[in-house]
């Protein structure tokens, strides 16, 4: 299952459409990290609204993706983590250290605007 990556201005938006296998997730990570410099993007948003499970592998992959993107000079925001998934993740002992999260795409975009355009933002 391929995840479409859209370019919108300074940002890249990857919106996951269905449950992903490990290979799909790794491909998404590699694609995003590559395209960040290709498009000289300053922010990346990954929308995980449709995911009903975020296990240790998914969490680790998203975290490493965010760190790699940061090394390439852009910010990552993970948006759309469901209440049940958030609950399950903390029960499992998973955290997204050093990764910014937001409620949904809209919040994620305004967060990036604040961060990148220098306004005082939340988070």
């Amino acid at each position: 299952m391929l995840v479409p990556i859209l370019k919108q201005g300074d940002y890249l938006i990857a919106s996951i459409q269905s449950e992903l296998s490990d290979a799909d997730l790794l491909k998404l990570r590699d694609d995003l990290v590559r395209r960040v410099s290709e498009f000289r993007s300053r922010g990346v948003i990954v929308d995980v609204t449709v995911l009903d499970v975020m296990d240790s592998f998914a969490t680790r992959t998203l975290r490493s993706m965010a760190h790699m993107v940061m090394l390439r000079g852009a910010e990552t925001v993970i948006v759309g983590i469901q209440p049940e998934v958030a609950f399950s993740m903390v029960q499992l002992g998973l955290r997204l250290e050093g990764v910014t999260t937001a409620l949904d795409l809209e919040e994620g975009l305004s967060l990036l605007d604040h961060k990148i355009k220098g306004d005082n933002g939340l988070g």
């Binding site: 998934v85 399950s88 998973l94």
Partner: protein
């Protein structure tokens, strides 16, 4: 409704199939949406363990009854190399592979009951249960 379902585990793609199967069965039993997620996540972790260390195995979900309690049982079994030190494997952050080392202890936290039997050279069997909460609206 079918009382038992098994999914053969041969590659990482089966992880998604296995947790969907578990979620389906748990849904029939009347678990809350949060509990469905906990169960699916626990299945994901134990199946991932099979894929990572044993390569091949099987995951079975079943309905269990104990007194007036009803619940789901999840059994993940493989004929892989086995775990030499279970105590160590059940410690948070311990991993010989490339994972975070939260898989097995994490899955234990998500379920009500957790049991692991392993023999080096023969394989590993993880049995987990979760009961439907009564009186909780």
């Amino acid at each position: 409704m079918a009382d038992k379902a098994c999914v053969p585990i041969n590659s990482e793609i089966d992880i998604v199939t296995a947790r969907q199967k578990g979620r389906e069965m748990a849904q029939q039993l009347g678990f809350s949406s949060t509990e469905l997620t906990l169960i699916a996540t626990a299945i994901s972790e134990v199946v991932r363990n099979i894929v990572e260390y044993a390569k091949h195995g099987e995951l079975c979900v079943d309905i269990v009854q104990q007194g007036d309690k009803r619940g789901i049982s999840v059994i993940a079994q493989d004929n892989g190399p086995g775990i030499p030190n279970i105590k160590l494997a059940m410690q948070d952050g311990y991993s010989t592979g490339k994972s975070l080392g939260l898989g097995l202890p994490g899955a234990k936290r998500l379920m009500d009951e957790f049991d692991i039997v392993s023999e080096v050279g023969k394989g590993t069997k993880v049995t987990m249960k979760k009961w439907v909460q009564k009186n909780v609206r």
